[in-house]
Symmetry: C2
DNA sequence: TTGTTATTAGTAGTAGGTCATAAAATTAAG
DNA sequence: CTTAATTTTATGACCTACTACTAATAACAA
């Protein structure tokens, strides 16, 4: 960036940059904009943007919880009861982070992930992988509603497990899915 | 924590604590264990645990990318072509962060999310929500394989859209899903 | 007691800042 | 052009949460 921007332009771009990549230091920014570090700091002050370490910490903290419940752990929701190989129950408190902004409806992927991981948890067998999933969404789930998932193995054929998972909000069924899982022994990969 | 632990015990507990909550400073740890800060630092050295700021940065960085591709953005994958209301194509480069550790198979939720978001993108109508999804996984996808999603509206009935999405790896079909979407005008919420 | 390991203390140096003050450069207005 | 206001830069003191290093002391085992 060779050109010199006016204050306004620079501050706008600065905001955009930090939104996309919060890991940039004041020094790097000052080089990008060809201004002194102090100018960058004044800009941040005026825009109310915290220092690098705070930004990083915020990213870490907000995502730590989130990722714990959807991606980081291999389980979505909270396992509250399980009879391995037979059935299990899990719970997921939905929140604002899980919904479509406009409609406030919980994204399907959360329900799906909750059901899938519950199915996998029941069929403990050294990480089973999914063959077929047949899914029905009965009614939309809203932010704040507590999802209860009940899963049950309904048939076992060789190393194939058929698991049904139902999701409820207040005893009312909101989702159901049939999963076919293939158990995997330590030898060899799997064809579904 | 009043008791004094032996080195081994202390280091084990230290490891556990930082695994559960990486945001703890050496000072806080030294108070918890009733030892000096230097001892904590020696412990960290021996265990190969980086300093607070590094830990926080790691959490932030690993989750930043992850959340960007599955939760943060409302779209999973990269939209490479779209004819609104008719069809669309998207691309997703799978990587290690998306697989089950043991089997290296890409988690179903990623394929599901990719397909779902593509379906939603086609039926642009101010955030449509999912009614029914009927899904088949044809074969497992491995880390590094490039997923191509092709979506097509196959029927429109009033404000309901029926969209089929196919996922391919090297022209080979690996996943298919049928989505029923309900368009939502700015008035009122939706029953599926 | 001697040797070994574990712990504590202290100093210097670092990154990436904050806060306050002052001087210089740029821009706008009369 | 000159003055005033705005914007930018410079400077120094201080902060946190460290690293890296040296040195002294405490604990315990043979």
């Amino acid at each position: 960036m060779n050109e010199k921007f006016k204050k306004n332009e620079r501050q706008e771009k600065l905001q955009d940059i930090l939104k996309e990549d919060p890991f940039v230091t004041d020094e790097e920014l000052s080089e990008k904009f060809n201004v002194s570090i102090q100018t960058i700091r004044l800009d941040r002050m005026e825009l109310g943007i915290p220092e690098l370490r705070e930004r990083v910490k915020n990213v870490a903290e907000t995502n730590f919880a989130k990722v714990k419940t959807i991606v980081g752990k291999e389980f979505v929701g909270e396992l509250i009861d399980i009879t391995p190989g037979k059935s299990a129950i899990s719970l997921l408190e939905t929140d604002k982070s899980m919904v479509f902004e406009k409609t406030k409806v919980v994204k399907g992927q959360y329900m799906y992930a909750m059901a899938e991981t519950l199915a996998l948890a029941i069929v403990d067998a050294k990480a089973a992988l999914i063959g077929i999933a047949n899914i029905k969404y009965k009614r939309p789930v809203l932010s704040g509603e507590r999802l209860i998932a009940k899963g049950e193995v309904i048939r076992v054929r060789g190393n194939k497990f058929f698991v049904w998972v139902f999701l409820y909000v207040n005893q009312q069924e909101v989702f159901r899915g049939k999963f076919a899982l293939v158990g995997i022994e330590d030898n060899g990969g799997g064809n579904a």
